[in-house]
Subunit: 211 residues, 2 copies
DNA sequence: ATTCAGATTAACCAACTGGTCAAAATTAAA
DNA sequence: TTTAATTTTGACCAGTTGGTTAATCTGAAT
């Protein structure tokens, strides 16, 4: 068999998955290299053999996860659909995605907030200005019909995104107020219900908006 | 002069303020007792003299901040106003509050998420069921007119709360997409603008809602 | 079978971190 | 001024943590 070049990609993958788990659960400061090694079923020295430092390992994981999240958010808005259809599709797909990755929002938001330096590497790649212009120009008529000016786009986009992300980020706070939300199935059902609720809410708001 | 009883309350206060700062900035795992002592202008031993352990100090800070946040959220909904007026008042006051405490949302949400044990102490105090019933019964007519059933209340309340909290929690992510948001004044202006945007958005959605 | 680069490990280390302790300083009362 | 309690400090300690090193193992090519 041919060797997978430098580094055994199987081991590298085990490490990456373990690191993703631990960082997502505990955050950078709370994560322990020993625990990552344990979960990957390897020695701590081997961990450092594949990823020299904790920072390097973290950045590798962080960048992959951040891109994963942003791709999900932006991909839909590139499609050739009406704005209304896009919102519906976005909520459906993004909530599905987050049900499978429930810790992702809090992990990303917190790490970006606690250590803003992590954003330096990705800033160029995540160009919102382009997306906003694209969206606004593509849907100029529809949006103007709703009384949305270009300058309203940031408020609108953040409102839409928060509809799916916020409940996951705030899940524990929600569970404190509504104990039944500790049950995974009930929380997921709540998010399934939210697909429709949020879509209706947004459409109604847009249609009826003060101009 | 009379002694302030056991413990010098001035020193205690300095410690508490320093701890609040450091915990808010770095989170529990990232905070260092040495840094808290430094910022309070005291010795690390004295820190442990006032608060025996890091956990105790953290819980003291956490509980105060959590209560501060919840009081702001719930107080307004107890008042004797129409639901519509309450939403407007809530957005105005809560956004004002968060502009003065911009790190609070991320701190609370993250700590609750990373270490759910912190919630045990406050669970009883933060009874949402009571609040929800109170609100729904107080505004039954108005809400039914909007097509909101009692079972819709969780979705609605979370949507309203996220309008003010989410942009603060997601500030760094927002700033990655819209670099001008790094500027405090521009971000605060954005949140001032949001008071009106969110209120209009919610009212319009309610008025025009599918039933 | 030998070789040799790459993969894996056990043992180790220096720096950091939360926490302790005994002594010193401060304060208010006697 | 003396006394006794409280407050503050410098020095110290044990456990943890990220990271290193030298030795060993593995497996494919010679």
């Amino acid at each position: 068999m041919v060797k997978a070049s430098v580094n055994n990609s199987h081991t590298r993958d085990k490490i990456f998955k373990a690191a993703t788990q631990v960082f997502e659960e505990k955050g950078f400061a709370g994560a322990r290299m020993q625990e990552i090694a344990d979960r990957a079923g390897i020695n701590k020295a081997l961990l450092h053999y594949y990823f020299r430092t904790k920072d390097q390992l973290f950045m590798a994981v962080f960048q992959v996860l951040l891109r994963k999240m942003f791709e999900k958010i932006t991909a839909i808005f590139q499609a050739d659909l009406s704005f209304r259809e896009k919102i519906k599709l976005f909520l459906d797909q993004h909530i599905d995605f987050l049900i499978k990755n429930p810790n992702l929002p809090m992990f990303l938001l917190n790490e970006m907030s606690v250590n803003p330096a992590v954003n330096d590497g990705v800033r160029e790649r995540l160009n919102y200005g382009g997306l906003r212009d694209l969206i606004y120009e593509k849907h100029a008529k529809e949006l103007k019909g709703y009384g949305i000016r270009k300058s309203d786009m940031p408020q609108l986009m953040i409102t839409i995104i928060s509809m799916s992300i916020f409940p996951f980020a705030a899940r524990e706070m929600i569970a404190v107020m509504m104990p039944q939300m500790h049950d995974n199935r009930k929380f997921n059902a709540f998010m399934e219900e939210r697909k429709g609720f949020a879509a209706d809410f947004i459409f109604s708001a847009l249609k009826h908006r003060k101009k």
